[in-house]
Symmetry: C2
Subunit: 207 residues, 2 copies
């Protein structure tokens, strides 16, 4: 075993990978320790329980995702081009999951949201807050696109929540089909959705 | 214990409810038997394993959903009005989940799809087939709407898959926020999405 800080990082890395592949409930502390090459006693030095570990894993997923958001939604290009880059990057991330784990693992935060929301109020709130930050980052770019005249979005937070919902649903199906290629068209589809929101009447025109 | 067929129904009902609330991995055979008021020996008379039970639960969820699809997507009204009825019914179903279980449980098939897709190839294929049937039923109504001149959808199966993805994503967030009211606008939003698909160019117009 290396320095204590190494052990904590190894536990976080192993737990993040195993939970992403199989879920929170299906993965035990012993398995995480074995995968990390860390003794069980050390686990409880760093984390009071598996529940405390998964909270740190959620933070770690978010750090990774926040970097990805800045790489795609920040930087060069028009707001629309950056939005499309963001969706393409998500499709590519799903492909990488299949290459390394043998199957599409989906969005680790979405997986945990569905698994834990009815079971753990503290983790549910943590996940809800993380998705709120993600949505707000997207909303800021929708606001930029509207200011630049590329879109006409009256309520960027609501439109961003729609986009994240659509993305999570598509990622769910790429996991269900074990087919990352099914996400190839997600950028153009999402942009078409955004354009429709700008034109949308306040209530349905269905009979 | 009543007639053997009663016991099987009771096991299915209890398993369906518990798994919908907490997931497949978190619920054990003993708990299901206790909730059903059925002895463990009887469980193995009807089901070889928990895995075989969950396969029957998926069939049972689908039967319930197929009835709901016919009630909403079939029957009176224009194709668009029936589509909106379908989305409203889904929002109402989420509300009922909170009233009976104390929280929004989400879509039981979507929950299982995310939990099991990387873990069990046979159940993944069963779930994928069920979602395929659901998508095809929706696609038939999109086709009707196009024939009636209400929409212009070139690829109804693809558009229906988009709709189901959007719905599953929205249901995920209503579960994460424990807020069924967040689904109130899903009908108009989904119809706007459908209209945008009809106008969509073959590739993105982003730079």
């Amino acid at each position: 075993m290396g320095r204590p800080s190494d052990a904590r990082e190894k536990l976080l890395e192993a737990a993040g990978r195993l939970i992403s592949e199989r879920g929170y409930t299906a993965v035990g502390v012993s398995e995480i320790c074995n995968a990390a090459g860390v003794k069980k006693g050390s686990f409880y030095h760093f984390f009071e329980s598996k529940r405390h570990l998964v909270s740190a894993v959620i933070d770690s997923y978010w750090e990774h995702m926040a970097e990805g958001l800045e790489r795609t939604l920040g930087g060069d290009g028009s707001p629309l081009a950056r939005l499309e880059r963001f969706f393409t990057a998500n499709a590519n991330e799903a492909c990488r999951g299949r290459d390394s784990a043998g199957h599409v693992c989906g969005c680790p935060l979405g997986n945990l949201a569905l698994e834990l929301s009815t079971q753990d109020e503290v983790l549910r709130e943590q996940l809800s807050e993380v998705f709120g930050r993600w949505t707000s980052r997207l909303a800021a770019v929708l606001d930029e696109a509207t200011l630049a005249g590329e879109l006409q979005i009256c309520d960027p937070e609501r439109a961003a929540a729609d986009l994240v919902a659509y993305l999570e649903g598509r990622v769910l199906f790429s996991k269900l089909r074990n087919d990352p290629d099914s996400l190839a068209d997600i950028g153009p589809r999402a942009l078409a959705f955004l354009r429709s929101i700008g034109d949308q009447p306040q209530r349905s025109s269905a009979q």
